[in-house]
């Protein structure tokens, strides 16, 4: 059953990153890899930058593994929308937190699956920092130099947050570089070359350099 997103209004789309081609590529890639997740038998699945909630809701609707689904976003409007998406689709065992993921040290060592479609657009360092402070839709895009500043912070966080058997599914754009892990899918959308990668803890450590 596909996730119902009909409640998302025009107004929502101006304030929260709407379900887009990268969103659906991430959904399709993670769903194609469900047997891997099943074998991990996760307790905590978190989505970093949950946005509209489309990705997390799709996973929470899938009954092929038993776990808790937590969505975190820095944009308050996104957390409200994600919560209504989960509710509307009758999900259970989820929660939403409004916060900067990089300050959530209470997640360390506990998370089994991280899903993230990060802000990956190339901007100046200043713009990245400014957009992180704004905590609005601009925080969805700005990725800093090479679109890598958020991603590099994400690697550092993910390495600390994941349990030993944990994995991260991350979407990225070819200008961000290449990373150790298993590329699950690739798609060209206009001038962007999108890909989704699955990285284990060791691979994340390698990416940290």
């Amino acid at each position: 059953m596909a996730v119902n997103l009909k409640h998302i209004t025009k107004n929502d789309r101006q304030q929260v990153y709407p379900p887009s081609q990268d969103t659906f590529l991430l959904i399709d890639s993670v769903v194609s890899d469900l047997s891997y997740i099943q074998q991990i038998d996760p307790c905590f699945v978190i989505e970093i930058g949950v946005g509209s909630g489309a990705v997390l809701t799709t996973l929470a609707m899938n009954q092929s593994f038993q776990s808790v689904f937590i969505g975190v976003d820095i944009n308050p409007k996104a957390t409200l929308l994600a919560k209504s998406t989960l509710e509307l689709n009758n999900c259970k065992n989820y929660d939403i937190v409004n916060g900067d993921i990089f300050r959530q040290k209470g997640f360390f060592n506990k998370i089994d699956v991280i899903i993230c479609n990060p802000p990956y657009v190339i901007t100046s360092k200043e713009e990245f920092e400014e957009c992180q402070k704004r905590k609005d839709i601009s925080s969805s895009f700005a990725g800093g130099e090479d679109g890598r500043e958020f991603i590099d912070k994400l690697f550092d966080f993910a390495y600390k947050a994941l349990s030993d058997k944990g994995v991260m599914y991350m979407l990225f754009e070819e200008h961000n570089g290449s990373f150790p892990g298993k590329v699950l899918s690739e798609q060209r959308v206009g001038c962007e070359g999108l890909a989704v990668i699955r990285m284990g803890k060791e691979q994340i450590r390698e990416a940290l350099g």
Partner: protein, 123 residues
Amino acid sequence: MRLLTHNLLMCNLKTCAGQNFPLALQANEISEENTEFNLVLTQKMLGKLDWKAFHRVADSLGHTLPEELTPEDQNNDELMQRLHHLLFNIVVLSGTLTCQSCGRAYPIDKGIPNMLLEDSEEA
């Protein structure tokens, strides 16, 4: 916010590192869901949980739990059902989470804890 999530949240201020957990919960509005008892998920969750913090927050809501959880408790069906209810079915809709070290209060509104800092606090 469910109590399982309370177990993951710490004061976000860097200056509180080391004494930022657990946050004290003041619940103004609670809703009780009634999702079906799930033993497998409850047992998995117990493997992740900081029991002391959970014990304390449950106590603050008027639910007394054993000081420590023994391996045999995992087979105590009645206790497991209670833990499932506390972890998964109690949803705090509004209230505050307060750091016991610095006193910073984080509001919970519409069921969502707000851990965001002001620009002046970010450093």
